[in-house]
């Protein structure tokens, strides 16, 4: 159905976010990043620059990473979104990409992290055996002011190996029974934070 709305009218936008149908009425100018954060109260997606440069707002649209600050909510009606909230298992066990960021010190303040994690999920779905140069290029669209990037690149490399071992699709929610980490040293990523390495989102 075609849609027409005045500048101050509201349009019903229905999407599936992390497998759950969600809807809200929003004006045409609502950015997808703000739709997620303000209308759907999913604040895991961060906003840095709002003009496409920093990558903090990266999410998956039908499985492909995009900038949520460079799309309008009304343009993605009917489609499937994945945000950082959709990655960890229901019991809080971290997704392999999140776990790798924790293991490899791929974050400090964490502001850029949701964007890096979502970019990495999209990248690793396409490139299952990346070399170091491919990882650099795959992550080149995201900025981090804290880490100096070495830990981030190491995290993506670790995640690539872990995902190959488990065969899991990095774009879907982590299923602990697929967990290939159980036997790995220091690789316990349960909700209690087995290695004491960091906070686990609730």
């Amino acid at each position: 159905m075609s849609v027409t709305a005045g500048a101050h009218e509201r349009i019903e936008v229905e999407v599936t976010v992390n497998g759950v149908p969600r809807a809200a009425e929003v004006p045409p100018r609502r950015l997808l990043s703000d739709f997620l954060r303000h209308d759907l109260r999913l604040t895991g997606t961060h906003v840095g620059c709002e003009h496409g440069v920093c990558g903090a707002c990266t999410i998956l649209l039908d499985g492909a990473p995009i900038r949520s600050c460079l799309a309008f909510a009304v343009s993605v009606h009917g489609r499937e979104l994945t945000t950082v909230e959709g990655l960890a298992a229901d019991d809080g066990t971290l997704h392999p990409v999140q776990a790798a960021f924790q293991d490899q010190h791929g974050l400090q303040c964490g502001y850029c992290t949701p964007g890096f994690v979502m970019s990495a999920c999209g990248f690793l779905a396409e490139t299952t055996e990346p070399d170091d140069d491919e990882i650099r290029e795959g992550m080149s669209g995201n900025l981090c002011r804290c880490t100096g990037y070495a830990g981030i690149l190491a995290a993506v490399k670790q995640a690539a190996g872990d995902l190959r071992a488990s065969g899991a699709d990095p774009r879907s929610q982590h299923q602990p029974e697929d967990d290939a980490f159980a036997g790995r040293p220091g690789g316990e990523h349960g909700p209690a934070g087995g290695d004491g390495g960091g906070e686990v989102p609730s």
Binding site: T4, L31, I66, R67, F123
Partner: protein, 298 residues
């Protein structure tokens, strides 16, 4: 920042898009991938009264490859064209150029045609429009017209899309036999807009000497700058090119300026270095193309 308010139209067919654009006239602006337009809206450098979103017009999705052309309609993203096996086999320069366009995440939404319409002086695809004898197909309720690079790319961020018009597709010509191509550029980070870049095509004669060569430079003028290099290179063996004269011609033809990333004189120097590299790869690929072609005919 946030965009200022705009009325929103999401038509479902090209016909409906044209009717909507015609009703809106000067007020309407097409929204394709949004990867250039939305930053401008967010920064309030643009505030069009109405957007016409192509999000619901799937008839603009299909790349067509014929014996002469590759036709790329308005919704085809950079990434889809970059990974389109048939199109990139027909015109390898598409892949060579698209590898430099932005970051993967931007390429997933930005469209090839939108980048030509946007006309950034450092954009890669506008350079291909002239180099590959391309045409932009423009349609409105009044009819249809075609525009070449010279008539379409008017200046930095300025192209000849008139009120009520939709750029429906861009059509690139396939290269002549025994042609090779290359795209070279330097950006501060891979994926950022280039400080300077060059696309070249080199066509060899059956003896593997240069028969024709052309270049198009980006980032060193308000629009891509095409330079005809056939006279400077013709007759040279593909594996022993002496590009000095071609580089001299190019450095004289371009018109770089200073900005925070590089000085004009650095850009002029860089453009010449990149041209030398690109000619060498293109000539080598042309020889490979010639060998492959002879292989299929014997």
């Amino acid at each position: 920042m946030k965009p200022s308010p705009f009325a929103y139209h999401a038509p479902e067919s090209v016909d409906e898009t044209l009717t909507t654009l015609s009703e809106l006239g000067e007020d309407g602006k097409v929204l394709a991938g949004g990867q250039s337009l939305i930053p401008l809206l967010n920064m309030r450098l643009a505030a069009p009264p109405a957007l016409v979103d192509l999000a619901r017009v799937p008839e603009l999705d299909t790349v067509e490859v014929t014996a002469e052309h590759v036709r790329v309609p308005a919704r085809v993203t950079h990434e889809r064209l970059r990974t389109h096996a048939e199109a990139t086999a027909a015109i390898p320069l598409l892949r060579q150029a698209l590898d430099w366009v932005a970051h993967p995440v931007i390429r997933n939404r930005g469209t090839a045609l939108g980048s030509i319409v946007h006309g950034d002086p450092a954009g890669e695809l506008p350079a291909l429009l002239g180099l590959l004898d391309g045409n932009v197909e423009l349609v409105s309720t009044q009819g249809r017209r075609e525009a070449t690079a010279d008539s379409f790319l008017l200046g930095p961020l300025e192209s000849d899309v008139r009120p009520g018009e939709l750029a429906r597709a861009v059509v690139f010509s396939r290269p002549a036999p025994r042609t090779g191509s290359a795209f070279e550029e330097l950006a501060r980070r891979h994926g950022d807009y280039a400080m300077a870049g060059v696309a070249v095509t080199v066509t060899l004669d059956p003896a593997r000497n240069v028969a024709a060569a052309r270049a198009a430079f980006i980032g060193v003028g308000g629009t891509p700058i095409g330079v005809e290099l056939t006279d400077a290179l013709s007759g040279q063996a593909f594996d022993a090119l002496e590009p000095g004269e071609a580089i001299g011609l190019a450095r004289a033809a371009i018109d770089p300026t200073d900005d925070i990333h590089a000085t004009a004189s650095y850009r002029r120097h860089l453009a010449g270095v990149l041209l030398g590299r690109a000619l060498e790869s293109a000539a080598r690929r042309a020889a490979e193309d010639a060998a492959a072609e002879e292989g299929t005919h014997t």
